[in-house]
Subunit: 416 residues, 2 copies
């Protein structure tokens, strides 16, 4: 199997200013065509460091992909490092220059600055993949059958370059092995107990199948990865193993294919032809965001309300002021009334509500930071739960609660 | 200045299954106490690979922090690698075992499994930092004045370990240099033109100040990082340089301190004592999520509606059905009516609305994927804009639009 090494160039990652999402995207895309990422280096924007890392990367990888360190400003040293490493000269590439000119003219910038013109200078031996969404071109270099691709760092530019140009190129270039992955999502069994339960099964897996445990909140994703030459055989092999696994974790499996809980939910809602709406307080829109992040969600998601101020819970969601006065706004009772009001407002089969204190300050009624009540209402049935998560930071808290609510809903829909 | 190397251990990162957010968090925390991350390695969970990477890391770093590769399941090889690398034995640590027992009893699991008991086995020379939010302890090793910390990979466990235990320890241990960072956010000038405008200023910066360009959507963040021994001098130096910079980019600066646009907005709203509400369609809750992700946002955010289905726009936001029929739901007119309806519903000073087609399928009225109209309404004034972003994937589209809307609002509030 071809092995790839990724190099992320940029002080903004090392300083903790930016999260590297490019590596994740590239690794997933490569995996789909059977190329395995064996290492990721994140390094600073210095010529010597880049050259040294290229050297180390080519010792183990057949393919090296760099992102970052290209752009119109002065903190970009990748091209120089590439030219020195591959013993090449930097020269103006006419095709790239014309592409760049067209790109900028379409954006109403008739004068090409010297700084942008410099972007059309590339190592003379490089093959250029034009960037349709930015000014830095992607350069491919080749040596002894090994390839390097150098891309800019902006994710919106990286994604189309990888997906539309580099992946098709690699597929044509290599006769690739196949990788097949299946994920089984298990809830209600702690990771360590789960490992004990499935130990014998795991030890008996064929050599070309590997298992990983990925805990996500209170869910554990079991990922089975198979590699080999024949796609049909791989799929069959994986399916066979999953059929042996399922009886061992019976009643705890919420999905056997999809990865993300919101996608699992979307499939269920489509299958059951049910609609959903949300009424959020402490999750601040995250529940709606998660549900709508799935393509096609407009078929089942009718809408949501983020009722942050208490009076809006009363006005829009029809929560009774008496209930708030009696039980406080962060209470089981308010969560229930929010869900009921939401179901009525949107006329949906399902409604979800959250009310809690995300922190860092205490809630207006003095409830402890990290307390949350949420209600899941499916037709006439409803379940209200409480969570206490004082150790989570604000955004993590919002994410965790939203994940948990959707996970619980999936659990409810499975059990009937 | 102390230099740190981070090692992320885990096939789930290399396979593109999980985004590494730990490195970002750790790098930012270390930077705050003057420790610079010079490299990040992401590697697979194999004893030899971990040992080799530790070796390379210690060649340049004074401090190595590993995350991942610890946990109750069998794909964890970090401890073995640590013991071999530091020429140590693995032994049961009684204190850790008792901590673990207490941790599990509090969670209602009286029986300690063999698999969990193994988690109390650590390299004999290690100093253990107990994990209060999980079962894998954090181990510190020391050799020739250099330190390594090995943490589990779960972000909710990493954050408190770093913040509450490791950072205070490092502060006590090293006499640290200071790092001071300021970010100036500029809008309306492309990166390349900006670089030309401020070139002379940049070249004249003192040697201990470094400038980075961080493009985020249509905004460019200029980050000035100063390092040195005296915190007061650093702050003054940075402030002096920013005062020289500001006249050069006059009229384009939206913030001179905060980093995130939603934080900038929060400060402005607090200062102006204005309230805000949202009416979203294609951003699906992301606008509300961004605004509420800032601590204290309950003071100005009254609430939001995610009106996904057209009929809900009519019912809840008072959009006229005639307008929808005449102009389609993805139109300037509907965006305007959504914003107006939202302002009335929540009785807020400001309202924001979005209506568009996030894709991948075309909208119900046949509008092209990537088209969005958004309205910003401040008291009686309103501005409606259109974006066309066909190249963005669904979630990126939602994020980009939400960022742009808030950025535009900030611009509007600045200009009066």
């Amino acid at each position: 199997m071809e092995k790839a090494v990724l190099i992320t160039i940029g002080d903004e990652i090392l300083s903790g200013n930016t999260i590297d999402t490019n590596s994740n995207f590239i690794a997933a895309e490569l995996k789909n065509i059977g190329i395995k990422v064996i290492q990721i280096f994140t390094i600073s924007d210095e010529v010597e460091t880049i050259k040294n890392t290229l050297k180390i990367a080519f010792e183990t990888g057949d393919l090296v992909i760099t992102t970052g360190g290209l752009g119109p400003t002065r903190d970009d040293k990748t091209k120089k490092a590439l030219a020195e490493f591959f013993d090449d000269e930097i020269a103006l590439d006419e095709v790239t220059f014309n592409h760049l000119k067209g790109y900028m003219e379409r954006r109403g910038r008739a004068d090409i600055l010297e700084r942008n013109r410099e972007q059309a200078f590339v190592p003379a031996k490089s093959v250029v993949f034009q960037n349709h969404y930015g000014t830095a071109p992607c350069m491919m270099m080749e040596q002894n059958g090994k390839l390097s691709f150098s891309l800019p760092g902006v994710p919106y530019e990286v994604k189309p370059l990888i997906k539309d140009q580099i992946i098709p190129y690699l597929q044509g270039r290599f006769s690739l092995h196949y990788i097949h992955t299946r994920i089984v999502s298990v809830v209600g069994i702690p990771e360590s107990i789960l490992a004990d339960i499935i130990e014998d099964w795991e030890l008996a897996l064929p050599g070309n199948l590997a298992l990983s445990y990925l805990p996500v909140g209170t869910r554990v994703k079991l990922r089975l990865t198979a590699s080999g030459d024949n796609e049909t055989i791989l799929k069959q092999q994986t399916e066979d193993e999953i059929q042996k696994l399922l009886p061992l974790v019976k009643g705890h499996v919420i999905a056997t294919s999809e990865d993300k809980i919101e996608q699992i939910l979307a499939e269920m809602l489509t299958e059951k032809q049910m609609t959903i709406a949300t009424a959020e307080s402490c999750t601040g829109g995250e529940l709606a965001k998660m549900i709508t992040s799935v393509p096609g969600s407009s078929k089942h998601f009718l809408g949501g309300v983020v009722a942050y101020a208490t009076e809006k819970k009363v006005k829009i969601l029809n929560v009774s002021q008496e209930t708030v006065d009696q039980f406080t706004v962060v209470s089981e009772q308010v969560a229930q009334e929010m869900a009921k009001g939401c179901q009525e407002l949107f006329d949906s089969h399902i409604s979800l509500s959250t009310t809690g204190v995300a922190g860092p300050g205490k809630g207006e009624d003095g409830k402890e930071v990290g307390t949350v009540f949420y209600t899941i209402r499916v037709n006439e049935k409803e379940v209200t739960s409480k969570l206490y998560l004082p150790h989570l930071e604000r955004v993590d808290f919002m994410d965790f609660v939203a994940q948990k609510v959707i996970q619980d809903l999936v659990g409810l829909l499975i059990s009937g």
